[in-house]
Amino acid sequence: MARRHVTGMAVAVLAVAVTAAACGSSGGGSSSSSGGKKSVEIGFQGPLSGDNQQLGINAVDGVKTAIAEANKKGDLPFTLKLAQSDDQGDPNVGPTAARQLIDNSAVLAVVGPVFSGATKASEPLFSKANLLSVSPSATNPALTTLGFTTFFRDIAPDTVQGAAAADYVVKTLKAKKVFSLDDASEYGTGLSGAFEPEAKKDGATITHDSVNPTKDYTSEATKIIADKPDAVYYSGYYAEFALLTKALKTKGYKGILASGDGSNDDQFIKQAGVANANGVYLTCPCGDANSDPKAAAFVKSFEATNAGAKPGTYSGEAYDATNAIVTVLKQVGAGATRKSVATAFKSVDYVGLTKTLKFSPTGEVAGSNVFIYQVKNGERTVLGSTAVLVKG
């Protein structure tokens, strides 16, 4: 009995000691000001853990690249730093993650949140705190209609992407019968809700189904194949699309398979397997930096900042958003406050890598293009933008 008490206490001591040691060694100290200059932080909120963390990592790496470039240039009256906050892509974690950034008074602007659901839950807080938030990826159409005052996104909403994808699948690929499946998420239903009416308008017959993310798409694949569609369009994220692709191919599905920007990541190819992924179409309102000659410098800088990682989906958008924020910070100068940054951002006009960042009063980016990708030999290749590919 006595012994147990002692060991219990000692274990507690050990645990505390080890945690302290770990924290000490892994560093990450948040002491501000370095090199005499005042430091200003740009926040990032997105999924840095969880099933679809890759999309968050793509984006935060883009932010890091832009920050590194700005600091290198050194024409700002302060040093820029990054403050990350993980919302796990979960709307319920969103508010706490947002508050963490809001609490940090050095944060003058935020890139993110990445996912639409988390954005919806977090934006009221950002609006109240007058903290600018620019999402590189939250594409749900309704987000700009909810009265958030400091919300902007430099990506086209799903209404644009869904319609363009429908035009491409029905008009260019000539699919007469389309099976539209979404993952019932904020993002997925928004995308399929834009895709289906346009596809119908283009003359295709649509079968709609909605399946929550799961691992076992076997019976859904049976159902899809029984429907004999020419094309399947999945509105959801890559982890599930990979499993769906696998299940469909295993059951001998030979038709067209397409999905949206949530699946537009190399992880999709990896997880579905090259043989299964080949031939799959992916739509995205985002360009591909890797294959864009204009973006060569960005790719190089990105690789240098992020230990050789290649830009992924939303990396370019996050990079652009950060640069636009940097422009505004420069404009506002040393006395920048959250309010002045948010106000100045409304009239920003910045020619970015992916598009020109210029916003409507509700925070919607002005011009946008939807690109079609196809997996060929295990690589995502850009076929072009729908403006060019869809005719008539």
């Binding site: 008490h5 219990g8 274990v11 796990q88 998420s185």
Partner: protein, 475 residues
């Protein structure tokens, strides 16, 4: 058989059940005699108890595990890089040194045998004072003062966490404590009632949040009694046919029920808005006479609202616990057959516990929903488990204990947000829970009854346990 002449022992009574329970005595207890007979093996605890060499081995093993836990990550392409970098890098020596120091500490302290005694002597008077009535009152007043001051001292993210993670979970844990701690029923689907409360709020307070809504909208405060009743009713509907089941089966049925509720919330998009969740439940407000107050995004007022309810619930459950109902629950928990034979209507009292627990959960659901946004993700099985772990961790059967459990566990999770990679948090959570069960299964602040029950169980006497004591009435 116990016949006159033999020395009766509690163990003997266990073996000669008077045949009302045809099933065998529950598992772990049956092996009590065995460990004493067999030699020591290298499990964690008995290692710590056995020879110094074995203890050293265990300490070093724990050090290595901790090194891996805190070390660099691997990935699927290089699955063992993280481990290799943790174990083969120089930092392993820091951990081994800590492990070694820890081992030395154990050696020294167990040789001297002094630490415990000194600590015990020092703490004993404190414990005695706390057991007296004024002592208890003073202790509770101090706790309340700390609770009132807490949000003034922390950041707003921490305040948000105080509301979302700690306050709500403390309320949930208080409710589950009635079911598990008082009546001894293991409910693994407890969060379902929380969901029901939240969706009832969504139904009655907003026309935009859910496709399915009431014709008239109310202030969330008016929904509180409705949610309370609906959740209690759900508890009775679930409990009625299932409370006859034996311990583990009850656990599984409740688990199934919890899953069904969450999956329905997730899938019935036409009713609940599915995984997109419910957005736009109005903030509660008070408009009584001259008092007008509107809760808003600021977490602090929510915190005080929650704190008020928690104090109220603690007070109310204290009354119940000390009443005939509380004693009847204790009786059911400790020996259901004897309770039944003493005239306790066991089924009705279990249902009552279920309904009370469910209604608190529904109540918490309203408060949670009125904070603007919720989605089925909040009502996962993990959440049910988390509440249960909070209850056990804090001290089953103790009202203050379960609140402390919520503060410590959820506070730890919040604290670790910044200190460790966010995704690694649950590794620490798991490790803490295992260590807790090995070293202090009665929880941080156990109730006196529960502490006795654990002691009795360890002595091999009929233990009161949600998994153990429930009899099979199938015969």
């Amino acid at each position: 058989m116990t016949t006159s002449g033999t020395t009766p022992s509690p163990e003997g009574t266990e073996l000669t059940e008077p045949s009302v329970t045809p099933q065998r005595a529950p598992g772990p207890r049956r092996h009590r005699a065995v460990p004493a007979a067999t030699g020591p093996g290298p499990g964690l605890l008995e290692l710590l108890r056995s020879s110094p060499v074995h203890q050293l081995g265990a300490c070093l093993a724990v050090s290595v595990v901790l090194a891996v836990m805190t070390g660099p990550d691997g990935d699927s392409d290089h699955p063992f890089h993280g481990i290799a970098k943790s174990v083969l890098a120089p930092r392993i020596f820091i951990f081994l040194a800590i492990g070694l120091a820890f081992w030395a500490l154990v050696q020294v302290s167990s040789r001297l045998g002094a630490v415990k005694q000194v600590a015990g002597e020092r703490l004993a008077p404190v414990g005695r004072v706390l057991e007296t009535r004024p002592g208890r009152l003073g202790g509770n007043a101090t706790l309340l003062a700390v609770a009132i001051l807490a949000p003034q001292l922390v950041s707003s993210a921490a305040q948000q966490s105080l509301v979302n993670d700690i306050g709500i979970y403390a309320l949930l844990a208080l409710g589950l404590n009635v079911v598990v701690g008082y009546a001894g029923l293991l409910d693994l689907g407890y969060i379902a009632f929380f969901a029901i409360g939240a969706y009832v709020t969504g139904y009655f307070t907003t026309k935009t949040g859910m496709p399915w809504h009431s014709p008239v909208v109310f202030n969330p405060f008016f929904v509180l009694p409705i949610a309370l009743l609906v959740a209690a009713l759900a508890g009775v509907i679930l409990g009625g046919p299932t409370l006859r089941l034996r311990g583990d089966y009850l656990a599984i049925v409740t688990l199934g029920f919890g899953e069904i509720v969450q999956l329905l919330a997730n899938n019935a998009q036409g009713i609940t808005n599915g995984p997109r969740g419910v957005f736009g439940v109005p903030n509660p407000s008070v408009n009584v006479g001259p008092v007008h107050y509107q809760w808003s995004l600021d977490p602090k007022p929510y915190y005080y609202l929650l704190l008020g309810f928690i104090v109220l619930v603690i007070f109310a459950f204290g009354r119940i616990e000390r009443s005939r109902i509380g004693r009847a629950w204790a009786a059911i928990r400790e020996d259901e057959i004897a309770a039944e034979a003493s005239g306790v209507p066991t089924l009705r009292l279990k249902l009552l516990a279920f309904a009370i627990g469910a209604s608190v959960s529904g109540f918490a659901g309203v408060l949670y929903a009125s904070e603007q946004f919720f989605s089925p993700q909040s009502f996962s099985f993990q959440a049910s488990i988390l509440v249960l772990v909070v209850v056990i961790f804090g001290g089953m059967g103790s009202r203050i204990g379960v609140v402390v459990g919520a503060v410590v566990l959820q506070g730890l999770a919040f604290y670790l947000r910044d200190k460790v990679p966010p995704a690694d948090r649950y590794i620490y959570f798991g490790a803490v829970v295992i260590a807790m069960m090995i070293f202090r299964p009665q929880g941080l602040v156990p109730s006196r009854r529960r502490r006795r029950e654990i002691q009795l169980a360890e002595a091999g006497i009929h233990g009161a346990d949600p998994l153990g004591a429930a009899p099979d009435h199938a015969a």
